[in-house]
Each structure stands twice: as structure tokens, then as C-alpha cells.
Symmetry: C2
Subunit: 691 residues, 2 copies
């Protein structure tokens, strides 16, 4: 195992180039830098850290106590109205919330349940009266609560939930019912133990008409006995794959009566006589408006996933820069893991993707703040926000899981020890891929939007204009149009003087490749689906299903493009020359590995020549080798301290052990006590024999 499969350090041609870690760190902290730094200071406190090996009941107790600490530190009220002690700062609230993931994802998500979902529902779906009545108790944690939307029978399909809230004008009450087991509210945080109240989503029925899903404030438990109130029952979800600090459970309701005024009535109300009214006439639009207030869950999961990826890569890259294995290049010194090409291939593209996801998240957060602060909250803004959040949350949560796993494997057995964080973070973040919207469903929402935009653009137009459209779109975001070539030129890939992948280093070319792919994929699916709308429902559904995979892949391509554009835009904010050089190379790595990942598509659609395609992998390998000397700087810029990393293998312990071993061997050689290797002896005998 020891001979040829090894390496030596590849000299970088960037001698002298360095990254200004402080400047890059500031760029990463973004607009809400102060809040992030405050939240990181808090997340560094041992009292907030996850303790491994607790039973799930012990972990739940600890997490509940930690929520109290967050209240004490005034860390979770930023989004609430100033009149109630908040800051009305939506972007800052999410930024701070995300950083808690480094302390314990259970704390982050349990806080998210309490203030981000339960509290937010009262804030955004209720009126001032509701806010004044319940928010103080929610903010202080006097009322731990639940967000009871999901049912066993319907995960991501909220419109189909079966819980009913039927208005009784005789008593001016709503009667809440879960009429069968599939209607039980499931996976509800705070439901198993802590929740005293809940916002329950149910079909509002009055005067014999179902007005669709609305939210109701329902008391669950007697605050003194903690027993369920009459008509309410539940089950404990018990142990989960992760996030065991949260007491998820099921809830069921049998003729539970609540006052009429417990309807959170901002978007739909029922008068005492049972008359329904709503400021939004269309039931469909009303539903999406109410659900739209929940986008902050997706926004914050996107940010938390990025934060966890940063932590993982910091640990794995620091270890890889110290750990030595095998020794082909020298007889005395083994090779540092990060000097192996494969190790660079495993970690550095994920580092590039993490940067892209981080910059994209910052844009998402700004968009979110614009909408929720009211600065820009048109219907279109809200739709853009929904689409952006769905696209980025899907990619970043999957990316975090893949990164945590790759880092764990790249650290071998040490990566498997829970003290080194990867396995624990991975277990906790696992569910991020399917909650607050299953990623597969979210990407279909993105695809739907892409199709809608496409059909708007092309209504009554011939498909022949596609090429112009593709290039036009590719020039979004003020990219220099002169650098772009027509799609048709790509078919033969003869536009460039060079045949090597090096030409793909050009920023406009990368953008054209990525954007052109999205446009073509959308156009292809749109073409295939063209006639479906006129067919009977079941036939139309069949045709859609035959293209489901393509649709999802088009959405993914779109999300990747958004990440690339955000990364590229962020380059504009970097002043230091060395930093810009390295960061541009990292962006190139991101763009090039995206093209490599989808190389089959580029080839079979004639966007790249066989000759150029064959040079791509070797070219990427050279980019990796050039980035390798900056790997530590690039993770240092994430700004996480030992109180966030908390991984023994990221502390320098490996280097210490090696130095101790080296010193031992040095002393032994000096003493000439060292045993001779049998192989060396055999060689000497042979030489001797030949003489």
C-alpha cells in the first residue's frame, strides 16, 4: 500500500499571493455582521452546546432550558414588534438564528419552532389584538407552543390537510376536529411535552362552505398540570435520527371548542353570525399568501446549512493540512493528506460550493428582509422570494449533508468519533432536506415558476426565438454582452482559439454555459408539455409525470446558476488583490465543477467539443493544486473559533503527535540504536554477494 499512490506538494505559481483573511471574513459576514458576531459569541457559550450521549429525554430538558438562556440573552426577539420589545428586524433575526446551529441544531430548531413558526404565525397571520395578547408570553417562553400544520396523511401537501374548524354561530366558537388518524398533526415540535398552546391549521368551515386552510390559536395543556385539555390527545414521536432535543409528537382534536376570536384573521375572518370575509378574494391566492409568511423557515435553514458546511470544512481542512499518510516522495516524511489530488478533489470543490451558497444566502436574506420589512413587498417580490428560498434551501441542505459526510470520511476513523462533530451535525441536519418543504417538492415549485416565466415570455411566439432568448437571459445581472457567443456557435465549439478547458476560465463563458443550460432545459420541457394543458386531466398528468425528472433537473440547474451569479457578484466587493485572485479562482472552480458535473449535457447538446471536454478534468486538477496553498486561509475566513469547532482533530493535536514521533526517531537515529530494516539488510547482502 505504500509505494506509488502518493504525492508530494505541488508548487503553486502564486508565490507571494495571500488572502486577506480579515477582509474576506467581513465579506462573508455580510450585511448583518454585527448580529452574526453577537450570535456567534452566544453560540460559543458552553451552556448552549450540545452534550453528546444524553438520552432523548435528557436532551429535551437541556434544550428547553437553553431556550430560556436565549430569552435571557435577548437573542430571539429581533423580528417582533418594537412595541412588544422586539426590533422589527427580520433579516437580522434570521441571521442570528442561523448561527445557533453551531451550538446545537436542536436549540436552533426548537427556537425556530417557538419563535420562528409558532410566534411568527401569531405575528403574521394574527392581528394586533392577537399579537398583544399572546406574543409577550411566546417571547418570554411563558407559553411554549406548537406549529400544528403537517398531518400524517399529508406531508408537503398543506392544501389537502383534513383537520376541520367548523364555526358554530350558536356559541360563537370554532369546533376543531381531526376526523381520522391520517388527519392527526404529526412531527410537531413541542407537542410531546412542552407545548401549552398551538397554532393549528385547519379547513375553515362556516355556513356549509369550506374556505380553505386557516390558522387557529388553540390551548393544548393545562399550564399547571401539563395535562392535555379535554378533547386533545397525542403521541410522543420518541427518538428521531437527530434533533433529539426537540419533543416532536402527534396531536389529535375531538370537538375542541375555541372562541371565534382565536381565528388568526388577518387574511380571512368569520363574523359572529358566521359570515366569512377576506381581503383576498381568490381562495388560491389567499392560501399562498398565508403560507408565504412561512418562507422564513426555509430562509433560515438555508443559512444554517451553510454555517454547518463551513464548520465541517474548517475541521476537515485543518486536519488534512496536518495529517500525514504514506510516504512515496520521501523515505522519512509522509505526505500531508491535503497534498493528495483526491483529497483536494473531495474537499476543495465543496469549499467552493460553500462559498457560493454563502453569498447566495446573503442575497436571499436581503430579499427576505426587503419583503418582510415592507421595503419591497409586491406580489412579484414575494413570488421571487418564494422561488429563491425554495431553490437555495434545496441545494444548500443537500450540500451540507454531502459535505458533512465527505468530511467525515476524509478524516477516516477520527471523523466517525462523535467528538469531532461531523456525525452529530449530519444526524441533526438530515431532516433539513425534507422539512419546511421536501427538497424534491421545492424544486418542482421552482420548475413551475421557470415554466410560468417561460410561457409568459413566449406566449404567441414561435419557439425559434429561443436562441436569442437564451443569450438575452444569459446577459442578466449586467454581464458584458460582448463576451457572449450565440448558442449556435457552441454546437461546433469552434468559437474559441484554444481548444483547452482553460477558455472556460472566462467569467462570461462560464455564465453563458450555465445560463444557456437552464434556458434550454426549460425550453425543452416546455416544448414537451406544450399540448398537455388541452388534454384531459389524467392524460395531462401523465405527460407531466413523464417529464418530472427533467423538470427537477432544470430547477436544480437554475439554482446552481443563482449560486454562481451570487458568488460572481460578491467578487465585486473584494478590494485586496491577492484575495480577489484566490477568490476568483475559487469561483472558477465552482463554475468548472458545475460544468464537469453536467458535462454529459454539454456534450450531447453540442455546447462543448469532445476535445475541450477531455481537457476539463486535468484543468480542474490544476486549479485545485493552485488553490491548495490557500485552503487554510479560505476556511479561516469563515471566522469560527475553537468554541464553535470543538473538534479535537482541528486543534493541532495531530501535528503535536507527529512531532513527538519525529523527535523519537531523530533521537534513535542519533543514538545508533535503531534496528536495521530487514529489507535494507537483504539489499546489502545482495550487493555484497555481487561483489
Amino acid at each position: 500500500m505504500t509505494d506509488v499512490f502518493t504525492a508530494t506538494t505541488i508548487p503553486s505559481n502564486d508565490a507571494g499571493t495571500t488572502v486577506d483573511v480579515a477582509e474576506l471574513g467581513r465579506a462573508l459576514l455580510g450585511r448583518w455582521a454585527d448580529v452574526r458576531l453577537q450570535a456567534r459569541a452566544l453560540a460559543g457559550l458552553p451552556d448552549l452546546h450540545k452534550v453528546e450521549g444524553l438520552t432523548h429525554t435528557e436532551h429535551r430538558k437541556r434544550a428547553f432550558g437553553q431556550l430560556g438562556l436565549l430569552v435571557e440573552h435577548n437573542a430571539v426577539h429581533r423580528a417582533f414588534p418594537q412595541r412588544l420589545g422586539g426590533n422589527n428586524d427580520h433579516g437580522g433575526n434570521v441571521a442570528g438564528f442561523e448561527e445557533l446551529v453551531t451550538a446545537d441544531p436542536s436549540v436552533q430548531i426548537k427556537a425556530g419552532v417557538q419563535w420562528g413558526l409558532f410566534g411568527s404565525a401569531v405575528l403574521h397571520l394574527g392581528t394586533r389584538e392577537h399579537q398583544d395578547k399572546w406574543l409577550p408570553g411566546i417571547m418570554s417562553l411563558a407559553i411554549p407552543g406548537c406549529f400544528a400544520m403537517t398531518e400524517i396523511g399529508h406531508g408537503s401537501d398543506v392544501a389537502s390537510i383534513a383537520t376541520t374548524a367548523t364555526y358554530d354561530p350558536g356559541t360563537e366558537e370554532f369546533v376543531i376536529n381531526t376526523p381520522f388518524r391520517a388527519a392527526w398533526k404529526e412531527f410537531i415540535g413541542n407537542a410531546a411535552v412542552d407545548g401549552l398552546a398551538a397554532v393549528v391549521f385547519a379547513q375553515l368551515v362556516t355556513r356549509g362552505v369550506n374556505h380553505g386552510v386557516h390558522a387557529f390559536y388553540v390551548e393544548l395543556r393545562d399550564p399547571s398540570t401539563k395535562e392535555f385539555l379535554p378533547g386533545i390527545g397525542g403521541l410522543d414521536d420518541n427518538i428521531k435520527g437527530g434533533l433529539n432535543g426537540i419533543d416532536n409528537g402527534r396531536l389529535h382534536f375531538t370537538n375542541v371548542r375555541i372562541p371565534r376570536t382565536n381565528l388568526l384573521n388577518r387574511y380571512g375572518d368569520v363574523a359572529a353570525d358566521g359570515t366569512y370575509s377576506s381581503p383576498i378574494a381568490s381562495p388560491g391566492r389567499r392560501f399562498f399568501t398565508m403560507l408565504g409568511t412561512l418562507v422564513q423557515g426555509r430562509v433560515s435553514l438555508d443559512g444554517a446549512a451553510v454555517a454547518a458546511s463551513k464548520v465541517a470544512l474548517t475541521i476537515a481542512i485543518r486536519y488534512a493540512a496536518e495529517r500525514r499518510q504514506f510516504n512515496a516522495a520521501s523515505d522519512t516524511e509522509e505526505v500531508v493528506l491535503l497534498d493528495y489530488q483526491r483529497h483536494q478533489r473531495r474537499l476543495l470543490p465543496r469549499l467552493a460550493t460553500t462559498y457560493a451558497a454563502a453569498f447566495a444566502h446573503e442575497k436571499l436574506l436581503a430579499k427576505f428582509d426587503d419583503v418582510f420589512s415592507g421595503a419591497n413587498d409586491s406580489d412579484e417580490d414575494r413570488q421571487d422570494l418564494e422561488t429563491l428560498a425554495a431553490a437555495l434551501k434545496s441545494l444548500s441542505t443537500w450540500h451540507a449533508l454531502e459535505t458533512l459526510q465527505e468530511c467525515r470520511e476524509a478524516c477516516g476513523g477520527a471523523g466517525f468519533m462523535v467528538e469531532n462533530r461531523f456525525t452529530s451535525l449530519r444526524a441533526d441536519l438530515d431532516v433539513y432536506a425534507t422539512f419546511e418543504g421536501d427538497n424534491t417538492v421545492l424544486l418542482q415549485l421552482v420548475a413551475k415558476r421557470l415554466l410560468a416565466d417561460y410561457s409568459k415570455e413566449f406566449r404567441n411566439l414561435d419557439f425559434g426565438v429561443l436562441a436569442r432568448f437564451a443569450v438575452g437571459q444569459a446577459a442578466d445581472l449586467a454581464f458584458n454582452k460582448t463576451g457572449l457567443r450565440q448558442v449556435s456557435q457552441f454546437v461546433a465549439d469552434t468559437g474559441s482559439a484554444q481548444k483547452s478547458a482553460k477558455a472556460l476560465k472566462d467569467q462570461d463563458t462560464q455564465h453563458q454555459m450555465l445560463a444557456g443550460r437552464v434556458q434550454t432545459m426549460v425550453a425543452d420541457v416546455a416544448g414537451a408539455l406544450k399540448g398537455a394543458a388541452k388534454l384531459p386531466q389524467d392524460k395531462a398528468a401523465e405527460i407531466f409525470n413523464e417529464h418530472q425528472n427533467e423538470l427537477i433537473e432544470a430547477a436544480r440547474a437554475h439554482a446552481e446558476l443563482l449560486q454562481w451569479e451570487s458568488f460572481t457578484e460578491a467578487l465585486g466587493g473584494i478590494a485586496d488583490e491577492g484575495t480577489l485572485k484566490v477568490l476568483t479562482r475559487l469561483r472558477d472552480l465552482f463554475g468548472l465543477t458545475l460544468i464537469e458535473k453536467h458535462l454529459d449535457w454539454y456534450l450531447m447538446n453540442g455546447r462543448i467539443s469532445m476535445q475541450r471536454a477531455r481537457t476539463l478534468a486535468p484543468y480542474i486538477n490544476r486549479v485545485l493544486a493552485k488553490l491548495r496553498p490557500h485552503a487554510l486561509e479560505l476556511v479561516d475566513a469563515f471566522g469560527y473559533g475553537p468554541e464553535h469547532l470543538r473538534a479535537p482533530i482541528a486543534t493541532g493535536i495531530e501535528r503535536e503527535r507527529q512531532e513527538e514521533a519525529r523527535e523519537y526517531y531523530r533521537a534513535m537515529r542519533a543514538s545508533s540504536d535503531a534496528p536495521i530494516d530487514e529489507k535494507v539488510l537483504l539489499l546489502r547482502t545482495k550487493v555484497h554477494g555481487r561483489k
Copy 2:
């Protein structure tokens, strides 16, 4: 979210085709069917099952007790000599051992430590005297023991371990030392609590010469007090990402003296006066021979990974065949998940890969038995076994992790509940990817062998003969040569009358595509490395490193080919026509998705035309739709009962809940109490208004 992204059942054109589940089940059970069935009966016992939510100390105690149960049931002695109560049945032993993974992977691996590593080392590296002295206690669990090979400083690089065993002729003892912290034995199962003895691997030094790594039997703890013996110490590894039923720990040795006869001296001995002797003159060959006895760990992990994949897919596919979400095709009935194209894409290719891995494992197990029984144990057989085990273990352990994760996500929140098995199995199997040889290192061993074979074939030959070689090799395993075309013909991909991917359904074409890729990749790397051997050591290492990624990918391609060939060979054993038809289609799916995965390579190397490549994905989608009606039969054939699956979502509970809901709505419609949907009302008003 509810309209177009949905589907209806795609009618299969296989009306009437059914799978003979019993016959297919027998084919899967393979040569050691009886042992497997016995082991499954055992693994079905509640006393052997993993209990979730235990602390790691409780889990350790339970697992130790479960090892006692295995002894009582006579389940773990098959490989040991008949004179000591075993069966001398190596293949059967591993087959039975693998099945334990369904009970609790900790039980499987702890049993593996005790009997597969500790006991096996005494069996294979010791002489009859050692066996008679220690095996009875090891077999009965009177001597729980460790396999102390890995050191903190050296994971997969065993040749470099730093522990020394220095012979002292004065007392006729070896002195064991771990001279610095990096030499401490690490991640050693049974080391933290249970181990009374260990086989310790150390550099054997006598008369001033280091004869390389040898194995020594060392007592660790006083059997009555369980305290470490003088000179021995250790640390508890505490909580891990999984397998917490095993008490891993570190061990260190300071001048620990053991009798000369505690050297397990089958492959190397030291006489009383300190003279070293060995039946194997070459130190390198001796090292690999000793380590070669450890291949059974890799063999059994391969099988266990396949078993876990089968369990996961059975659960996820049963759930997907019941679970309904969204309703575009009909207003009253939602669509079953497995009818969605994307869901088929997620689960069915992994089902095909699991079949391929299962059949490949059966071949590996036969090869292992041939070597270890002595039926065929030439040097070449042993090398083939090593290569095969390294190739298959890498792919199947990664496949198991990906499959468990995909299944967990495909089951949404329910998949995250620990009671549904995925998260728990995934956490436990995580380390399979890096223990008993890190997969990345193992694939490099495979690559090394491929290069060695290649250079043997081409010594003194011009590279121009490559094309003939490629096709020649592709015709291995008695495939019909007439079906194969020259590589050169593929460049234009004009050889086939049809331009569609359907032509790839042809078995010989699939084989030619997969085998040709391996050969070309190996030849390409070999060409690049041609001159490296003549360069100075550091330059040669640099060139190797520049091609490390390609080397690993070539090895992966080779392993995939082996899986495909095994699957294809297994088709020959299927008599029932319907079963053969479905299984052949599943093999096609495996082959086609491999080609799709590497489509960029086929395109840029001119092995497939752009036109044909574009038809591949739609063609695969059609194959998926044709396999969908047989998905349940294909998982039923795995033969796991509820006592192995133990997942509530695989019990039919979802269907029961749906029937209850359906009955409720039926009754409501009949009673005409059902509220009218506001949307319907609006529509009626509009229609009324128009009149």
C-alpha cells in the same frame, strides 16, 4: 403545490408477467442458503435486536450479552477447526455473520471483532499450539479480545505502524512498546471495557533487525478485577457516530513483556537465541500474506452492506407503494408515490444496484471460500480475492449509505423517525466506508492491480495494440464475441441501425461499453505514467498524484463492470420466464444507469453519438415505468420478514389510515353534510352570473 406535478399509474406492457418470488428468493440466497436462513431466524429474535435510545454504556452491555446468545445458538463457530467444535466452513461462516446486521450492526461488528478478527488472527497467524491454547476461550467468549492493529498515527497504512516487539534472549520474552502517542492503538473494539487479551501488531525486532509487522498474543486485563495489567493503559473512545454497542478504545504498552511463544509464528518465528526465520523469504510478500488473512473482514462488510440495502429498499418501496400525495390525475384519489417518475428514479436504480451487488457478493464469497478452504489458494487466487474484495466492498458500502439516505428522504419525515430504521442503520454503517480499509485506499489497490495486469500484457508491446486488447478483454466471461464491435466503430457510433438508446438494451453492447471504458481508462493512465518509474522518487510520486483521481475512477469502473458481469451471470440461473424477463430488465436498468452516470466519458471519448445519448434518459424512464409494477415482487424476493424490517411504515399502517379517511369522506358525501368548497362555489356563481 397541487396541480400539475403529479402522475397517474403508467400502464405496463407486461400485462400478465409475474415474478416467481420463491425462485428469485432462492437465487438470491445462493450457495449458503441454509446458513443464511438459520442466521436470519436468529436475527429475528427480539433479544438480539437493537434497542434505540440506550446510552452507549447500556448499549455496550446489551451487545456483550448478545454475543453470549450467539455462542449459545452456536452461530459463530463455523470457521473454526472441527477438532475445537467448529465446522471449518469459511464461506458459511461469513454468510451467517452478514445476516446479523439486520438485528443490530453493533452485534455484527462486535462479533466480527471477537471471532472474525481476534479469533481469526489466532487461527490463521498462529500454529496449532496457539489455536488449542486460546481458541476454546475465544470461541466461548471466556476471553473477549481485541485486534490491535490500527494506530492513531497510521490508519490504513499498516506497514508503517510504530509499536515494537523487541526480543530479549535473556528472558526469552518480547517487550512490547508504543513509544509515543501516535503509536497508540486506536479505535480498537473491546479495548475500552471488555477485552481481556489482544492480538497486537508490532514491528518485530530481534538481534538489531526489524523484520516488519508481526502479530503477538498479549493479555490485557486481569480477568477477575478487569483492571489493565502492568504497563498497559488506554482510553475510552466514548461515543461514536454509530455502532455504540462496541466499546472502542485506545491501548498503549510500556515495556510489556510476553513469552517468546506468544508470537503468532506461522509466517515468522524467533528461536530462543533470537534467530529469526520465516517460510517466506521476502519481507514484502510476508507482510501481504499475513495481512491477506484479514480479507474476510472486507468480504463480510460487503455482504452486510448488501443486506442493509435490501432491508432499506424493502421498507421504502413498500411505503412508496401505499403512500399517496397530491392529486392531479383525479379529484378524489391521490397518487401513490411509486407512480411518480422521480420516485422511481430515486429507488429503482438503487434496487438494480442492490441486486448487482448481491450477485457480485455471492461470487466474492465463493472465491473467499475457495481460497480459505484450500480448494484454490494459489498466490494468484489470493491476489484475485484481495482485489475483488477491495473493489466490491468499496462500492457496496458506499451504495448502502446512499441507499439508506435516499430511502430515508423518500419516506419524508417518517423516514427520519428512528423506528423506521433508516437513520439508525445509516449511522451504524457509516464507518463501513472507512474501516477494514478506507474505500479510497482500497480502490487505489484495485487500480494498482489493474495497472500491473496491464503492464504484464503490454511489456515490450506498442500501445497501438490497445484496441484489440480492449475488445479481447471485453469478451471475457464467455460473452459472444460476434456481438462486439471494434472500438473504432464507436467513434462515429454508426454501427447500429437505430440511433436510439434502445440498442443499448443488447447485453453484449452493454458489456462492451462497460468493459471498453475500464480498458481505455487503464490504458490512458498507464500511458501517462509510462515514464514515471525511471524518474527520481519525488518526481515519480508527483506524476502519480496528478493522476490519482483518474486511477481511482478506473478502479471504480472496474468494480462496476464486475457487478454487471455478476448480475448477468446470475440471469443464467433463472428458469421461470416471467422472472427472467423482469430480472433482465432490472439488469438493463443497472447497465443503462451506469452508462448514464458516465455518459460524459462515453461522449467525449466518442463511444456514443450525441443523438443516441440524448435518447438515453427518456429510455431509462420507460424502463423504470415497466419495472414499477414488479417493484414489490423484487423486494419480496429479498426474503426479509417483519422481524427483520421492524419498520411501522412497512406494515400496511399507511394504507389502513387512508382507508379510514376514504370511508369517512364516503360517509360524509352520502350524508350530504359535506361542506362545499369555496372554489366550487365561486365557479358556480360565475356560471350563474354568465347565464
